[in-house]
Amino acid sequence: MTTTGDRASREAALVAAYEAHAKGIAALASRLLRDADAARDVCQETFVVFHRRMDEVRDEPGPWLRAVAWRLSLDRLRRRRTEARALDAVAREDRGVDALDPAASAADAERRARILAALADLPDRQREVIALRVLGGESFPRLARSLEISEGSAKTHLRRGLERLRRTLAAWLPTHAVTTDEGTTR
């Protein structure tokens, strides 16, 4: 049973976390989603999750909040990706062309969407470790604690995730830097 005092102290902790981290969380979500409404939703959901699970957060809540926000943003990107695939399939049927052909469009927006979609499509742990480390600049000890995995495991996820991204993004990266699965450079 939650007492009125409990509720008040939880709300006070929530307000303190919001004041300290709301802008950072919004910046993080906005980086990935590029959509104010979506980023605002993610930011709000992050604090709602924090309020529900604050008993688990033993240290300063910043790293925990960022880990949750990255995850929610990546989930949303993945959903967006799934919806885009469905729309793309319909568009291909209508137009009779392959809209996924990299040669068909070299626009910056398209390239950006491809790269973020490739990140969103990675297995959960790989994409979270990459987001926290590469985009968030977190140290291994801190990101491992946020994700409740070992540092060794975090490094393995980073390595495997980057390998997978390189293969997925081969067509979108500079040609001198593309190595095929067979080990030849093209």
């Binding site: 309020h51 699970r53 991204l165």
Partner: protein
């Protein structure tokens, strides 16, 4: 340059290239000076990292400001959630934040149910044999005292009633266990 050297060096490259400083350990630096393949590996990882950072470049101040939700909205949401259900206790929470019903949880639940079902089925077979097979179960009873035998007969009868003609599954195992555990 040996393949083993390259493999050991490449193991460290993602960590090195995603750190705040790219200053490599001396052995990595020395290896990269003489190994073109590993230098190419470094280039490829850097290209991937650059692409990612470029795709998720920081938003402008105005974009960030527009993405900050009002505190009042968050408080209204948590109060509504509180009214619907009390906050989770640490005991009830699972390790993975924000994914209480994620894939790992579902797999763990499925595994637990499978173990329980298989265990229950095996238990059923064992109990069913003891309770209904006059040769195996009866022989064991005959070896005991008369009162113990009568007591065992009564327990077997309760077990058979609890089974109610079913011969497998978790439900029947639990029913049999419950019947046998009664004095």
């Amino acid at each position: 340059m040996s393949t083993a050297d390259c493999a050991a060096i490449r193991e460290h490259l993602p960590e090195l290239l995603t750190g705040r400083t790219e200053r490599a350990r001396d052995d990595v630096e020395a290896h990269l000076c003489v190994c073109a393949d590993c230098r190419r590996e470094v280039d490829e990882i850097r290209a991937t990292l650059d692409a990612l950072r470029e795709a998720a470049a920081p938003s402008t101040e105005a974009e960030v400001a527009a993405a900050v939700p009002p505190l009042e909205g968050i408080l209204a949401a948590v109060r509504a959630a509180d009214a619907a259900a009390p906050p989770e206790t640490p005991r009830a929470a699972i390790a993975s934040p924000a994914r209480p019903t994620g894939a790992v949880g579902r797999v763990a639940l499925a595994a637990a149910l499978l173990i329980a079902a298989v265990g229950g089925a095996l238990l059923d077979r064992s109990l069913l044999r003891d309770a209904t097979d006059p040769v195996e179960g009866g022989a064991a009873v005959d070896a005991g005292s008369a009162s113990a035998g009568a007591n065992e007969d009564s327990r077997q009868a309760r077990a058979q009633r609890a089974l109610g003609g079913r011969s497998g599954g978790l439900g029947s195992s639990l029913a049999v266990l419950e019947a046998l555990s009664r004095p």
